[in-house]
């Protein structure tokens, strides 16, 4: 049986990759995928700790988080499509009409 700490370390790495990617990437879709990566690293933490504590509550929480992520995707893509129709670009640097 693999120690819980390895899972947590892996989740930490995934989370960092997601966070750094979110801050570095300039395409909305890629930023969005980075957020998904961060969410899944949280799921990995939950599953690992659910096994460590022998507590199934956390595993059900993973399902809830997956559902929330799906809802987020639906809304995010809708907004991206609405913007893409007008600007034919998904680069966040071009979303700069609001400033100050």
């Amino acid at each position: 049986m693999v120690e819980t700490s390895y899972y947590i370390a892996l989740a930490g790495i995934l989370f960092s990759i997601g966070a750094v990617g979110f801050l570095m990437r300039r395409s909305v879709i890629q930023m969005f995928l980075c957020v998904e990566l961060m969410l899944n690293s949280a799921n990995l933490v939950l599953v690992a700790f659910a096994r460590a504590w022998g507590n199934l509550e956390a595993q059900t929480a993973v399902f809830i988080i997956l559902t929330l992520a799906a809802a987020e995707v639906a809304i995010g893509l809708a907004i991206i499509v609405a913007i893409f129709r007008k600007r034919v670009s998904t680069n966040v640097d071009e979303l700069s009409s609001l400033k100050g």
């Binding site: 988080i65 809304i75 913007i83």
Partner: protein, 476 residues
């Protein structure tokens, strides 16, 4: 096998809002937008009635994951009133920018439903669901108009909001890892006995602080706020600056005041965030020329003041934060309602164009002046009492430096709040006149907010007596 622990009575306020939202989603096929707006207002009024009826009963459901205690009910009152004000304001928006799909009201009610779930929850997962339902609803509302600014604001809010949610969820997962429980009581109990994985809980608490910090606009996570507040339709900005902020603060108070008070590691960063928020919010507001953006920075500054309550102990902090948020909701909802009815477009107005409004439109100018003076914290209006209670609570908990900083920055804020007032009343109009789009409904909202602001300022005991005990349950 035991039946699930569901007390329908305790769920009524949220259920009523949810059912109204479902009807408002379906009915636009059959009725007018005005009818939908009326239906939604009625639903909110009924939910308000249920909220008041459940007062002092402390009903709970789902094994204590959902508790309708006085804390939750008092916050629900603020959230519902903010929702009614936003629906009334959106009628003025129709006059300005033409009609919009009636689903606006349905989405608004889903968002309100999420905020109410967030304040009732006593379990991190239920809280997360409320947080997400609220956020998703507000993302849609922000991007609701086909204007470029509105869509851009929606995109920015969505990207940074989902980033913040991911951080929050990771924090929740870590706190679970350290304590083995999602329930606030369970976490507290686990931490009281033996903090086996103390570093993990501390990191988790920090991540939760960052996640909520995005939502309430603590600096340096406030970058989205001015853009989103100024790009969104004004009625939506009104709800965001009042409802979303109140609900997020309620969640923060519960998590940090009840579950994690004994965890080290979040208090010091929180102090830095609050100090930075106070300075950035107030100083950046000074140099804004757009009135809507100025109100956005002012709401960042107010997040700093309310943040002081998160640091204080629950027994004093809960009544103070509740009073402040009630006062803030009235002042800010009123100010945005006036702004909404004098703006020729959803981009807001230049501060300078307020010149001479006092002689052209005395009613709206008087209302706006009252709300701005209250926001500045001038006695005897509600803003002053709110600040007094928050500062007193924070000073009792020993945060003297922050209280002094807050007092200094709120002195700075006098300039940007009182300059529009002076412009309205003591200068001559130049150039074009601002329109007056106010309907009977939105005027009624302004008057109610104004009465509330004066009443809470002169007779604060009306509210403080009611809510003085809400912190007692928490500190048990």
């Amino acid at each position: 096998m035991t039946p699930p622990d569901v007390n329908v009575l305790s769920l009524m306020p949220v259920l009523v809002v949810l059912l109204t939202a479902v009807f408002a989603t379906v009915l636009p096929f059959y009725t007018t937008r005005r009818g939908i707006a009326g239906l939604c207002s009625m639903g909110l009024v009924v939910a308000l009635g249920w909220t008041v009826a459940l007062w002092n009963q402390r009903l709970s459901s789902f094994g204590g994951s959902y508790v309708a205690d006085n804390f939750a009910l008092a916050f629900s009152v603020i959230l519902i009133l903010a929702g009614i004000a936003a629906i009334a304001s959106s009628a003025d928006g129709i006059v300005r920018s033409g009609s919009f799909p009636a689903e606006f009201f349905a989405v608004m009610l889903y968002a309100i439903c999420g905020t109410m779930l967030l304040v009732h929850a006593r379990d991190l997962i239920v809280m997360l669901i409320g947080f997400e339902v609220m956020s998703l609803g507000v993302y849609i509302l922000t991007a609701f108009q086909a204007r470029q600014q509105s869509e851009e604001a929606g995109m920015k809010y969505f990207l940074l909001g989902s980033f913040a949610s991911a951080i929050l969820i990771f924090g929740i997962a870590l706190v679970f890892g350290g304590t083995g429980s999602f329930a606030l009581e369970g976490i507290r109990a686990a931490l009281a006995v033996a903090p086996a994985n103390a570093p993990i809980v501390a990191v988790g608490a920090l991540f939760i602080l960052i996640g909520f910090g995005f939502k309430v606009a603590f600096a340096p996570f406030h970058q989205w706020t001015p853009d989103v507040y100024s790009g969104a339709p004004i009625a939506v900005t009104q709800y965001m600056s009042v409802g979303v902020k109140a609900a997020a603060f309620a969640g923060m108070l519960k998590i940090f005041g009840e579950a994690l008070p004994s965890v080290g590691g979040w208090q010091t960063p929180a102090q830095f965030l609050i100090a930075l928020t106070l300075m950035i919010g107030n100083l950046a507001a000074l140099r804004q020329t757009n009135f809507k953006r100025m109100l956005a920075y002012s709401s960042i500054a107010h997040a700093g003041y309310i943040g002081l309550a998160v640091l204080s102990s629950p027994a004093q902090a809960y009544p103070a934060a509740l009073f402040y948020l009630a006062a803030y909701a009235l002042m800010n909802a009123g100010a945005f309602a006036v702004l909404n009815s004098i703006s020729p477009s959803d981009d807001g107005i230049k501060v300078d164009s307020l010149a001479g409004l006092g002689s052209r439109n005395p009613f709206l100018a008087a209302m706006l002046a009252l709300f701005l003076i209250a926001l500045a914290g001038v006695p005897p209006l509600a803003g002053f009492m709110g600040k007094y209670m928050i500062f007193a609570g924070a000073a009792q908990s020993g945060f003297y430096g922050l209280v002094i900083l807050a007092a200094l920055t709120s002195a700075v804020s006098l300039y940007y709040y009182l300059r529009p007032v002076a412009l309205m009343w003591f200068t001559e109009a130049k150039g074009f006149a601002l329109p007056d789009l106010s309907s009977g409904m939105s005027r009624a909202v302004m008057v109610v907010c104004a009465i509330g602001v004066v009443l809470l300022g002169v007779l604060p005991s009306l509210v403080t007596n009611l809510v003085s005990t809400i912190g007692v349950f928490a500190s048990r």
